[in-house]
């Protein structure tokens, strides 16, 4: 069974000084799926996400990656195993060029990262692969632009390209369309779809129309525990899901549910 699921959590719990942020969460992410984690504000999505990527340590429970227990591994270690995350706020290296951003990700693989005596030009042989990745997200002409000067949507595209440079087996995306205008959202949806080819993706997402377009399976979190799970039709028809969004969610999310449901 375990080879069917790339990532599994067993009875995952995270407490902060008596407050239970994540309560007994069992997730199973199937290989090749785009899996969404949704829920109203404060449902614990980001906490779950940080637990999975080891930016937080779980109070109890287990996390399995391809059947292997990774609960006690560190962030950098699981990244090298192929579990790579993106961040809510676009995570780029602002004062490096777009090309250098991607090259730093590639460097980790070829084992020269501690070579302080080698020349900078020794990195140029990675440039070809960098340009391919920039091409794939439509940033070719910005290769030599300092990242801080890129528009927001392009930064996100660059971040995704950097993440893909790691050749992740499991891609964890934290609200990839957060704070974007409509045309940027469509672009990111396309990028994620492309990136998901041959990979497994778990994403936290507020925008339900994005979820409805992309995701094979959806887990709804509310108050730290799993409310329900299923495909978009099942989840959006569930009266409990509508209730948590209507009852406690912000108006933006409520609008998104209805917009998504209308489609």
């Amino acid at each position: 069974m375990s080879d069917q699921f790339v990532l599994e959590t067993r009875n995952l719990v995270k407490e902060f000084k008596g407050f239970v942020a994540v309560d007994d969460v069992n997730l199973k992410i199937q290989k090749g799926h785009i899996h969404a984690l949704i829920g109203p504000n404060g449902a614990g999505k980001t906490t779950v996400f940080n637990l999975l990527t080891k930016f937080l340590i779980p109070t109890r429970g287990q996390i399995l990656f391809n059947g292997e227990d990774i609960t006690s591994m560190k962030s950098a270690g699981i990244a090298r195993k192929g579990v790579v995350r993106s961040f809510q706020i676009s995570a780029v290296f602002p004062h490096m060029t777009a090309l250098e951003n991607i090259r730093v990700a590639l460097q980790g693989f070829e084992g020269s990262s501690f070579s302080f005596w080698k020349s900078g030009a020794s990195l140029n042989r990675l440039n070809e692969r960098c340009m391919e990745l920039l091409d794939s997200v439509g940033l070719t002409e910005y290769a030599n632009t300092t990242t801080v000067e890129l528009a927001y949507g392009r930064k996100r595209a660059l971040e995704l390209a950097t993440t893909l440079a790691m050749e992740p087996k499991l891609l964890l995306l934290d609200e990839p369309t957060q704070g974007m205008g409509a045309e940027d959202v469509d672009r990111v949806v396309e990028l994620v779809r492309k990136a998901a080819d041959g990979r497994t993706v778990l994403m936290v997402e507020h925008n339900l129309s994005v979820v409805s377009k992309l995701c094979d399976r959806i887990t709804v979190l509310a108050q730290g525990s799993v409310l329900t799970e299923g495909d978009y039709e099942t989840v959006s028809a569930d009266p409990r899901v509508r209730e948590v969004y209507m009852g406690t969610g912000s108006s933006g999310e409520r609008g998104a549910v209805e917009e998504g449901a209308a489609k």
Binding site: T53, F55, K74, S75, A76, G77, A79, R80, V84, R85, S86, F87, A91, V92, F93, P94, H95, M96, T97, L99, E100, R103, V104, A105, Q107, G108, S112, S113, F114, S115, F116, W117, K118, S119, G120, A121, S122, L123, N124, N127, E128, M131, D135, T140, E141, A143, N144, T162, M166
Partner: protein, 331 residues
């Protein structure tokens, strides 16, 4: 100018720009080298050596502060441990070649740096600075109490000795060219480190540490290496300083010194290669010239004022501001 559209062309442009920049750097370095080679015929060599020692100290500090983003407030410990070790060995083992004494001083600072790094590297920001300060104070008290350092009096009459058993370093000109050679070697090393694959990772860690972690980098190890290299080079500076002045004193271990190197780096321009050199030159000159004149009691307040003005108005420091200006006005 036509913007290239094709991937290969864009890449070619990038590589050419890189090469052009390297050429510019080489020319600038060449001019500086010529100046430094000729300088002792115009200026007093001991004064120039003082500047070079402090410049090297600041360059070492800047590798950690400017290029890794770690503010150490304990770098005096490495300057002093280099100086005392070298001074002790050269004073007590006559005939020991000077270069071995300096090497030993460097080694002592390196080991001490590794200890500091392992104890402090997991702390962030101000906590990191405070841990390094506390450790440096421990080292300071050790030097105060120890007999071999001469305590408050310092260590006097350190023999300069001979280089490779051949060149008499008592001669100021010989000494100057030796110090210059060591300085250049260390400066070129730092330049190389900053542009190396490792330097790229340091840059990434400085700009966005969580992202570097998520790309699989075990950032603590990279920081430790940067700290150790920085401490080692600070040790070289301290060792050479004790040979030049034939003196190792508590001043070098005092937290004032840790503060002064921050000042030099900020005034010159942190995160630039030449900045700390310019900053050290500036600060050493101000200290020297003011202490000769009627303002001799005002050296510290004046330096404090310079510090405040730099932080408020010229964040990038002298070299940083010049770079900005050149970039803006010359494309």
């Amino acid at each position: 100018m036509n913007q290239p559209q094709n991937t290969a062309d864009i890449h070619k442009v990038i590589v050419e720009q890189q090469a052009a920049q390297d050429r510019k750097k080489l020319i600038l370095n060449g001019v500086l080298l010529l100046f430094l080679l000729a300088a002792p015929f115009v200026f007093y060599p001991v004064f120039l050596m003082k500047i070079l020692c402090f410049a090297l100290f600041a360059v070492a500090f800047n590798l950690l502060f400017g290029f890794t983003g770690l503010l150490s407030f304990g770098h005096a410990a490495f300057l002093a441990s280099g100086g005392y070790t070298t001074g002790y060995l050269l004073s007590n083992f006559s005939g020991l070649p000077t270069e071995l004494g300096i090497l030993a001083g460097t080694l002592a600072a390196t080991i001490l740096g590794l200890g500091f790094a392992l104890l402090s590297i997991r702390r962030q920001g101000i906590y990191f600075a405070m841990v390094t300060l506390a450790l440096a104070q421990l080292v300071f008290f050790f030097f105060v109490q120890s007999e071999f350092t001469g305590g408050e009096d310092g260590m006097h009459g350190i023999p300069r000795g001979q280089l490779f058993g051949l060149i008499n370093l008592e001669d100021n000109m010989n000494m100057y060219y030796f110090v210059l050679a060591v300085f250049i070697a260390c400066y070129v090393l730092v330049q190389r480190i900053v542009s190396s694959p490792y330097g790229q990772v340091l840059k990434a860690i400085k700009q966005n540490e969580p992202r570097a972690v998520s790309l699989g980098y075990n950032v603590d190890r990279y920081k430790v290496l940067a700290f150790v290299i920085s401490a080692a080079l600070a040790g070289v500076a301290g060792s050479m300083k004790s040979v030049v002045f034939q003196l190792a004193s508590l001043n070098d271990a005092h937290w004032h010194m840790s503060g002064e190197v921050i000042l030099m780096t900020l005034v010159g321009g942190m995160g630039t290669l030449l900045g700390p050199v310019v900053g050290a030159t500036f600060v050493v000159n101000i200290e020297y010239h003011l202490s000769q004149g009627p303002l001799r009691d005002w050296v510290d307040p004046i330096l404090g004022g310079v510090f405040v003005i730099t932080v408020l108005a010229f964040r990038s420091g002298i070299v940083g501001e010049i770079q900005k200006f050149v970039r803006k006005n010359m494309g």
